[in-house]
Amino acid sequence: MSYRVVHYINQFFANIGGEDMAHVPPELREGAVGPGMALQQAWNGGAEIVSTIVCGDSYFAEHEREAREQILAWVKDAKPDIFIAGPAFNAGRYGYACANIALSVQDELNIPVLTGMYEENPGADMRDKILIVSTSNSAAGMRKAAPAMAALAFKLMNGEEIGPSVVEGYMPNGIRKNFFEKERGAKRAVRMLISKLNGKPFVTEFPMPSFDRVTPNPAVKDMSRATIALCTSGGIVPRDNPDRIEASSASRYGEYSIAGVDSLTKGAYETAHGGYDPVYANENPNRVLPVDVLRELEREGRIGKLYDVFYSTVGNGTSVAASRAYAEEYAKKLKDANVDGVIMTST
């Protein structure tokens, strides 16, 4: 038994013609066409291109909705194990079409997809959404691109785990994967420094991220009538950590009532955080979560009310995505409880 593949190419690679034929609408052909031959050869019988969809680049760009509907219908009928588009090299509209149609197939038909193109192709902007094999900037690179795409496609069809981008040859997609290098880190560092000093090219192993921004909410108008809630990433929990929140890489957050609690006393509360010296927080947990002061301000009428529940997470080694998910969940609870302002403390 061999895997079934549907392949998408443009008018040029189907030998219909160049720019002058870019207007042709989608067409379904049986078997492999053009670059598909090279893919099929690499699979050596393990997978077969059952059909090839050809579409003019201008047609796709100008009639995207119709083209997409037609192509999705054909792909659905063919029930392939993978949908492959391109490679598009540095052809802009072709790359755009490959990336977009591949994304539709992946999201709407739930079929694995793969495409390939040059890193500066506009279609490569979608590298975080679909797997894109990095190719050279001209069709002369087909000899290298086809085996790379064929190998990765076969892994996907076979349900194998995909290795890191640098090993498999796809563009970095924001998903970090571990692997063992041939040289140790210090040697790689010295080598990178020598390149940097000599003005030679080097590739960072981790491109610096950029963080998004949120517009600030309006201020609390009347503090003396406001309900203020306390949250912390410092891991304050009741004694013996009843929810067993992990010291690092926490898999959950804590939600604890402080109704009637005047101050977080030693012994009754402690920290579950593994990233800092816990002695001080355990000695007096108000040092991390200032319940004592807020209760006093509540009595004095400086704030309307201290909300009777606090939320606690361990920031230490816990991924941003996980932290975000926890906070999203409890932020909604706070909103539903008509909390007017939040004090978040971090260690």
């Binding site: 890191p164 981008s165 640098v166 090993v167 970095p172 924001g174 998903i175 970090r176 994967k177 571990n178 692997f179 063992f180 290098e181 041939k182 040289e183 140790r184 880190g185 210090a186 040697k187 790689r188 560092a189 010295v190 990178m192 420094l193 020598i194 940097k196 000093l197 080097f202 960072t204 192993e205 981790f206 491109p207 610096m208 991220p209 950029s210 963080f211 067993r244 992990e246 010291a247 690092s248 890489s249 898999s251 593994g274 990233g275 800092y276 010296d277 816990p278 002695v279 920031g315 230490n316 080694g317 816990t318 991924s319 941003v320 995505a321 996980a322």
Partner: protein
Amino acid sequence: MKLQLGFINIKDVCLSDKTMVENGILHVNSDEVISHIMQDEDVKACIKEAYFDIARPGEKVRITPVKDVIEPRVKVEGSGGQFPGVISKVDAVGSGRTHVLKGMAVVTVGPIVGFQEGIIDMWGTGAEYTEFSKLINLVLVCRPAEDIPPHEYERALRIAGLRTAAFLGECGREVQPDEVREYETFGIKQGMEKFPHLPRVGYVHMLQSQGLLHDTYVYGVDAKQTLSTIIMPTETMDGAIISGNCVSACDKNTTYHHQNNPVVAELFEEHGKSLNYVCNIITNENVYLADKVRSSDWTAKLCRLLDLDGVIISQEGFGNPDADLIMNTRKIEQQGIKTVIITDEYAGNDGRSQSLADSDPLADAVITGGNANQVITLPPMERVIGTLDYVDRIAGGHAGSLAEDGSIEAEIQVITGATNEMGFGYLSAR
């Protein structure tokens, strides 16, 4: 400053009635070594029981909770002794000759506080993630006396390990080394004259200094009480810096890492060829923002003063130290000095999350030790040295980490040295 290291290859370690090195085999008389450790009053007061065990590469053995790893050495010529300012008097090391028992290490094991230390597996998946699985490990297991405050017990265990290593290192004093290597850096003017056309390169060595289980000591001084300063590479190699930290174990530098600092070693490899290795700058990672600002300012000033063209910056730990790393990098780059940084990542179990807590576009040359949140399953072993009582609570473990058959599902965070940020290992991520 010139240092000769004489490497004595240790082929095996065995418990014996004598303590000596003979034909490449280290014989250890437990009673003798332990009574030597206990001569220190503080150690004696804090440690109720201590014993040795041996773990060899490929044996189905798990060592946990690991506190420190130390290479036994002895000062044969030149000033200073082992771990000056800590267990020998303060005297500059880094010149003369030191003999090294190569291929083995002393590993200290013992429970300290709520959350715990690392794991070293000698076999299986876990072994691939720690370079220490390749060494013959003489494990010193210590049990604390009752009601000892964690700070004091941590110190006792630290001293016990260093005393053991120094005592064993002494066995190599009269032994003819299998290999001798020489390391030398020069004064500023002398170096410029010697290598006029080579770029001047320094190493900014960040030291974890955040409190209990997160401290580092330089000639006995707690690094959090220091200002950024210059240290010669050979001093680092000769025991001037020791570790007091092990949580989370994957990216904490053990004393062994300091003795065998890979950045120092790789810079020496290129010294006089493609670069002129000038010196190391040590700087801390404190818990106060003012300290972070002051230390990184100071580091950048020193780099400028030394007229460096490039530096390698190694981090220790993660989270708030990411801010120290980024401040150092930004300020040094702003002096016109090129940087390469070594860090590790906390990108979540699925690798989709933000890897670092802080960032700056000037940090454009990064080496990564991998994603510490990667989950692996450590197979059951035939033997555990230490105790598995704490595995659920080690940073990187979670409730239910330890299965009934003795296997452990945990993040590689639990493995000593797995994502080391000196670039000691081969793990990386993309």
